[in-house]
C-alpha cells in the first residue's frame, strides 16, 4: 500500500473541498498518507500530486520541509524527548541520554525490532511540565527515568492502544462539515462584500464643519 486507499481518497476529496485552492490541503493530506502507511511513501506523494493538481516534485518540496513527515519507515512508537531550555534546566538532556541507553540507540535512529524511534526535539509546549516527552505525539509530563523505563516496558508489551495509536495517526476525531450547514470556501475572484456587512453599513462619518 502506498497510493491512498479508496476510503482515504474519499476523505482526501472532502478535505480538498474545504479550501479555496486544492494545494492548501497538501499538509493535511500528507498526514493522511502517513496515517495510512506509518510514513510518507513516494507513491503516496505521486498520488497526492494528482489529487491536488501539482507535480510530484512540488509535493516532495513541501513534504521535505516539515520535521514530522518521515519518508522512510520509522518505529511503531516515535519517542520525542524535549531538550530545549526549560527542559534542559530540569534534566531533559539527562533523560535523553537515559533513553539512548535504555533503548540502545542514538537519538535519530530506530531499534532493530522496528518498535522505537528516538528523537531529540525542540520545545513541545509543555515547558512548565519539564522534563517531558511525547510518544506518537501524546504527552508525558514531568517524567523520571524510572517512569521512562516503565513506559518502554509497557509499550514493548503491547502498549496503550486507546491512548497511543500507531505512528502517523494524529487526531482521532476528524472535522466534518455537513453539506446543509457549510458556508463553503471563499474563493478569490468569486466573493463580494459579505451580506452581513452590506446589510449593516457603518454610519457615514460626521461631516467636518
Amino acid at each position: 500500500m502506498s497510493r491512498l486507499t479508496p476510503e482515504n481518497v474519499t476523505l482526501a476529496e472532502e478535505i480538498i473541498g474545504r479550501y479555496p485552492r486544492p494545494k492548501s490541503a497538501l499538509i493535511p493530506l500528507l498526514h493522511l498518507a502517513q496515517e495510512q502507511d506509518g510514513y510518507v511513501a513516494d507513491d503516496a506523494m505521486e498520488h497526492l500530486a494528482e489529487l491536488v493538481g501539482v507535480t510530484p516534485a512540488e509535493v516532495l518540496g513541501t513534504c521535505s520541509f516539515y520535521e514530522m513527515f518521515k519518508r522512510e519507515p520509522v518505529g511503531t512508537y516515535v519517542v520525542n524527548v524535549c531538550t530545549n531550555i526549560s527542559c534542559q534546566l530540569l534534566g531533559g538532556e539527562e533523560l535523553l541520554h537515559h533513553a539512548e541507553e535504555r533503548l540502545g540507540i542514538r537519538a535519530g535512529s530506530t531499534t532493530a525490532d522496528g518498535r522505537f524511534t528516538l528523537e531529540d526535539v525542540e520545545c513541545i509546549a509543555a515547558c512548565t511540565e519539564a522534563p517531558c516527552l511525547q510518544v506518537n505525539y501524546r504527552y508525558f509530563h514531568r517524567i523520571t527515568t524510572d517512569e521512562f523505563d516503565a513506559l518502554v516496558d509497557e509499550l514493548a508489551a503491547g502498549g496503550r492502544p486507546d491512548e497511543i495509536p500507531p505512528h502517523g495517526t494524529l487526531a482521532r476525531v476528524r472535522q466534518h462539515i455537513p453539506d446543509d450547514r457549510a458556508a463553503g470556501p471563499a474563493v478569490p475572484g468569486e466573493c463580494g462584500e459579505p451580506v452581513w456587512i452590506t446589510a449593516r453599513p457603518a454610519p457615514a462619518p460626521e461631516p467636518r464643519s
Binding site: 531550555i85 487526531a171 450547514r181 458556508a183
Partner: protein, 454 residues
C-alpha cells in the same frame, strides 16, 4: 506584592470538568459573546475591541482592533488565520487554551470574522498537538450541529466556515507570512514585508488577519462584559489579563493568568499563589521574560510590572508570555548554546546571515562549552551576532527577512555581557569583546569589566 483580584478571563474553564464540551461551555456563559456581537453592527464590534485595547498575545503585542482596520476597503474575500503554532521555547498557553477550552477559541474566531468581514477562517494548529486537534475537531463538529458555525449562524445572515488545519513540525511557520505560505501548501518560508503584509496581501494575496489563539480567546469575554470592563483591568498599554508560563528553577512551575500591566515579575516568580520562589532556596541568576527570543532579565528587573511599554523600554519584551527562570546553579554557556542551537536548527535557510550565522554561533558556542574555545572566540561570536543584527540593539535591527535570525543574538548578548567571566573560565584565558553591544537589557547590567582573567 501587587496580587490583584482580577477575574480569570481566558482560563476560567481550565479546571472545570468537561469544560471542552459544548454543554459545559454553554452552561458557563458560552456563546453569549457571539450573541452580543450579532446584536451589533460589525463596526461596533471593532469599536468594542478597540475600547478594550486588546494587545496581540502572539509575540509582537500589536493592538488587535487596530490591526483589523488595516485590511484595505472593498477588497474581498478577507480571511482570518488563527495562529495556533505555539513553539517559541518556554511558551505554553495556547495548547492549554485549545485543549481545555476549544469553544472559547471558536467563539472568538466567529466574533472576529463577523467584525472584520472574513468569509472563511483557518485554524492552524501545531502539528505535534494531537489532543488539541482532536478537541478542536470535536468542538467544531458540535458547533456546526448547533448552527453556531457555517451557514446562517444562529439564524442570522452571518455565514462563515471555520476550517481546522494542522502543521507538521517547523517553528518558523509561527511567523505570520510563513504560516500563510504553509497554509497554501508550500514550504514554510517567510515572505518579505513589504509588500506582503498579511492585512493587505496575505493568503492567496487577499487581505488576511493573522491572530494568536490567546488574543482571540479574549473576545467572548470582551463582547459579553464590554470593552470598557476589560480596559479597566491592567495599566498603560497592557489591559485585561494575560497568561504567563513560568518554567525552569521555580518551586511551582505553571501557567498563571494574572492582571496585565500591574503584576510584577517578582509577584509572578515569588508569590506562593504563582511560581512560589526559587527551588531549594537558591538565588535567582537570570530569567527570560518573554520566550527564548527575548534578552534576559536579572534580579534588578524583578520589580518591573508585566507591562509591554515598561519591558520594551528596559530592553527586552514580554513576547509570548514565557518566563524561564535560571537559578544560581545554571551553566549559562550551556543554556545559551541550547537556545542558539534551536535557532540554528529552525532557520528556514532563506537568508544568508541567519542560515550561516546561526550555525556558526552554535559551533563556536559548542566548542567553548566543551572547553575547546579559543581566546578570540568571544569576539568572533559577537561579531557574527553583529552581522545578523547590526549594533546588537533593542529592538533589534535585522539583515534578514524575518526576526528569527536576530532572535539567536539575544541569548548570546545577554550571556556575554553579564557572565563574561564564565566564558573566560571555560576558555581558560582572558577574553575581550570590542564590538559594541547596545541593547538596553544588555547594557543595563552592571558594567561588565572589559577584560576578565580566568
Amino acid at each position: 506584592m501587587t496580587i490583584t483580584e482580577a477575574p480569570r478571563i481566558v482560563s476560567s474553564r481550565f479546571d472545570v470538568a468537561d469544560g471542552h464540551t459544548i454543554d459545559v461551555y454553554e452552561s458557563t456563559h458560552g456563546y453569549e459573546g457571539l450573541r452580543a456581537a450579532l446584536a451589533k453592527r460589525p463596526d461596533e464590534v471593532v469599536e468594542e475591541v478597540k475600547t478594550a485595547s486588546l494587545l496581540g498575545r502572539g509575540g509582537a503585542g500589536f493592538p488587535a482592533g487596530v490591526k483589523w482596520g488595516f485590511c484595505p476597503p472593498g477588497v474581498w474575500p478577507r480571511y482570518l488565520v488563527v495562529n495556533g503554532d505555539e513553539s517559541e521555547p518556554g511558551t505554553y498557553k495556547d495548547r492549554l487554551l485549545m485543549e481545555r477550552d476549544p469553544h472559547q477559541l471558536i467563539e472568538g474566531v466567529l466574533i472576529a470574522c463577523y467584525a472584520i468581514g472574513c468569509e472563511q477562517a483557518f485554524l492552524y494548529v501545531r502539528g505535534e498537538m494531537a489532543l488539541a486537534q482532536e478537541r478542536i475537531a470535536a468542538a467544531l463538529n458540535e458547533a456546526y450541529a448547533k448552527g453556531y458555525v457555517g451557514r446562517n449562524i444562529m439564524g442570522s445572515d452571518f455565514s462563515v466556515d471555520v476550517v481546522l488545519h494542522w502543521g507538521a513540525g517547523a517553528y518558523i511557520v509561527g511567523e505570520e507570512t510563513a504560516l500563510i505560505e504553509s497554509l497554501e501548501g508550500n514550504r514554510g518560508m517567510p515572505r518579505l514585508k513589504p509588500p506582503f503584509f498579511p492585512a493587505a496581501k496575505g493568503l492567496y494575496l487577499q487581505p488576511t488577519v493573522v491572530n494568536n489563539v490567546e488574543t482571540l480567546s479574549n473576545l467572548p469575554w470582551i463582547l459579553r462584559e464590554g470593552g470598557a470592563a476589560f480596559a479597566e483591568l491592567g495599566a498603560e498599554a497592557s489591559r485585561g489579563t494575560r497568561l504567563f508560563a513560568v518554567s525552569g528553577h521555580v518551586r511551582q512551575p505553571g501557567v498563571y493568568e494574572v492582571e496585565f500591566g500591574v503584576t510584577t515579575f517578582r509577584d509572578l516568580i515569588y508569590s506562593p499563589l504563582y511560581a512560589g520562589g526559587i527551588r531549594d532556596g537558591n538565588e535567582i541568576k537570570a530569567y527570560i521574560p518573554g520566550g527564548s527570543s527575548a534578552p534576559w532579565f536579572f534580579e534588578e528587573h524583578l520589580d518591573l510590572p508585566l507591562e509591554k511599554g515598561v519591558v520594551d523600554r528596559a530592553g527586552s519584551m514580554l513576547g509570548s508570555g514565557a518566563v524561564v527562570v535560571f537559578d544560581e546553579t545554571t551553566d549559562v554557556v550551556k543554556a545559551a548554546l541550547r537556545v542558539v542551537r534551536f535557532y540554528a536548527r529552525e532557520s528556514c535557510g532563506k537568508c544568508t546571515p541567519c542560515r550561516e550565522g546561526t550555525s556558526w554561533l552554535e559551533k563556536i558556542l559548542e566548542r567553548i562549552s566543551d572547553g575547546l574555545g579559543r581566546p578570540s572566540d568571544l569576539e568572533l561570536l559577537v561579531d557574527v551576532c553583529d552581522n545578523i543584527s547590526p549594533g546588537i540593539a533593542w529592538p533589534p535591527k535585522q539583515t534578514t527577512i524575518c526576526p528569527l535570525g536576530p532572535s539567536a543574538v539575544s541569548p548570546i548578548a545577554s550571556a556575554v555581557t553579564r557572565f563574561r567571566d564564565e566564558f573566560a573560565a571555560r576558555i581558560g584565558e582572558p577574553v575581550t569583546v570590542s564590538t559594541p553591544i547596545t541593547g538596553g537589557a544588555y547594557t543595563a547590567a552592571p558594567d561588565a569589566p572589559a577584560e576578565v582573567g580566568a
